[in-house]
């Protein structure tokens, strides 16, 4: 499956608009939301493969959002893209399951490459689970 769905969560409306536009131009199916709460609501209804998440947002803390996302959709990969980068939030983010941690401003091509890698990881993960399930049913039968 070469098409995948991306969700971007960022409270800076200008940044959000620009990056959504640029991703769409590269033919990527992308949705942008302005808050962690909105993102979690959306995740109740839709599946995404990769999330690009800012961690310093008012309202729901970015790390809290990340934790909730990994709880609900552990297979979905999250890339943290933040202007408030720090070693501590990097370590925290990755400890709580983020695939990568990127500082703003980020090279757009690099970001696309990371999204592709995140999606690849998700696919490998799904394949692995399916394989385990098949093995288990074989053992049982």
């Amino acid at each position: 499956m070469d098409t995948f769905k991306v969700l971007i969560v960022d409270d800076e409306p200008d940044f959000l608009e620009t990056i959504v536009k640029r991703l769409k131009r590269r033919k990527i199916d992308v949705t942008g939301v302005e808050s962690g709460i909105r993102a979690l609501e959306l995740l109740e209804q839709e599946h995404f493969d990769v999330v690009i998440l800012d961690v310093r947002m008012p309202g729901m803390d970015g790390i809290e959002t990340l934790k909730e996302m990994k709880k609900k959709r552990p297979l979905m990969e999250v890339i943290i893209l933040t202007g408030h980068a720090s070693v501590e939030s990097g370590m925290q983010g990755m400890q709580f399951g983020a695939f990568d941690y990127v500082m703003k401003p980020a090279e757009f091509d690099e970001l696309i490459e990371k999204v592709r890698q995140a999606f690849e990881r998700k696919s490998i993960h799904e394949a692995k689970i399916k394989e385990t399930k098949i093995k288990e049913t074989r053992i049982v039968t």
């Binding site: 109740e44 209804q45 839709e46 599946h47 709880k71 609900k72 959709r73 552990p74 297979l75 980068a85 720090s86 070693v87 990097g90 370590m91 990755m94 400890q95 709580f96 983020a98 695939f99 990568d100 941690y101 990127v102 500082m103 890698q117 690849e120 990881r121 490998i124 993960h125 799904e126 394949a127 692995k128 689970i129 399916k130 399930k133």
Partner: protein, 310 residues
């Protein structure tokens, strides 16, 4: 959970088309022949059937996606419970001992002393404050333990180690500069891509870099290198000009909970987690150190072809 917007769009599109066809069929009945109208109605019916089939497919795919997530959550929980007990017993006893004592002290004051006395009142408040503080400490410990216990099965991808290492170096550099610590890089340009788990490797590299800058404190250097090792191994070296590690501690530093930081500050899970992760990636971590000179940690990763678990 069905993607309602998708389903809605599909259904509405198909029904609108079908309705239009039927709407066209009515005047056609009067102008054209019955066969023509029958054809149109057939098309409408076919559209309806294919929509129903598509909707079912979408619902099934979404069900599958949900169940995969559920399976993963379940297996993670089981792994965590198994490894938790001994770790908790060990580290939580200190905060628990303090809480126990504060409770004894509060009991003593309530029984033996004049509670109205402002001095005694402040003792009571202090004890409660301390209890709350130790509970917080326990919470941190159990959370870190849960992360430690969660066996993160490596997911193997082809990784550009130079890129990965440089990303982490840049992250650390931001704060290092303010402490006048220089990050020196030396990357092997011909380094092959490595089959490994990139987020896990990232965590280890970041941990080592963070330890290195902490060891230096301020005014010093942290060096990060990528090298070709023996037997096609790929090495990542993180060296610092910090305080160094005393010889008697060298074989303890990868133990869980070993730490030289004061109680409450960092539970020392960093290096033991790193060690566990690199072992699971088929590699090892080695260290050389000299007190007063600095330390150098090397991650040795198996390079080249590796039978991935995927």
């Amino acid at each position: 959970m069905p993607e309602q917007s998708e389903v809605f769009t599909l259904i509405s599109q198909r029904y609108v088309i079908s309705l239009l066809i039927v709407a066209a069929a009515v005047p056609a009945w009067f102008t054209g022949g019955p066969l023509f109208v029958a054809g149109l109605l057939l098309i409408a019916w076919a559209a309806f059937l294919s929509t129903r089939h598509l909707v079912r497919q979408i619902l099934r795919t979404n069900e599958q996606k949900c169940s995969l997530d559920q399976q993963l959550i379940q297996s993670q929980k089981l792994a965590a419970i198994g490894e938790l007990s001994s770790g908790i017993a060990h580290e939580i006893n200190n905060p628990l001992a303090i809480i126990g004592q504060e409770v004894e002290w509060v009991r003593h004051i309530l029984k033996e002393e004049k509670v109205e006395d402002p001095q005694q009142m402040s003792e009571l408040k202090e004890s409660l404050f301390e209890i709350a503080r130790q509970v917080d400490r326990c919470r941190e410990i159990t959370h870190k333990l849960l992360d430690f216990a969660r066996k993160q099965e490596p997911l193997i991808q082809s990784v550009d180690v130079n890129r990965l290492v440089e990303d982490m170096a840049r992250l650390v550099e931001r704060e290092a500069i303010s402490k006048n610590i220089k990050i020196v890089r030396s990357y092997n340009k011909d380094l092959p891509f490595v089959l490994t788990d990139s987020p896990l490797l990232r965590q280890v590299v970041l941990n080592l870099l963070n330890n290195a800058t902490y060891a230096v404190g301020k005014d010093g250097e942290v060096t990060i290198e990528t090298q070709m090792g023996e037997n096609g191994c790929v090495n990542v070296l993180v060296a610092d000009t910090g305080c160094g590690i005393p010889k008697e501690d060298l074989n303890k530093i990868f133990d869980p909970f070993f730490t030289t930081k004061p109680p409450g500050k960092g539970t020392g899970l960093g290096l033991s987690i790193c060690h566990g992760i690199i072992s699971r990636l088929g590699g090892r971590i080695s260290v050389v150190s000299e007190v007063g000179k600095g330390s150098a940690f090397t991650i040795h990763l198996p390079g080249g072809e590796r039978k991935g678990e995927a």
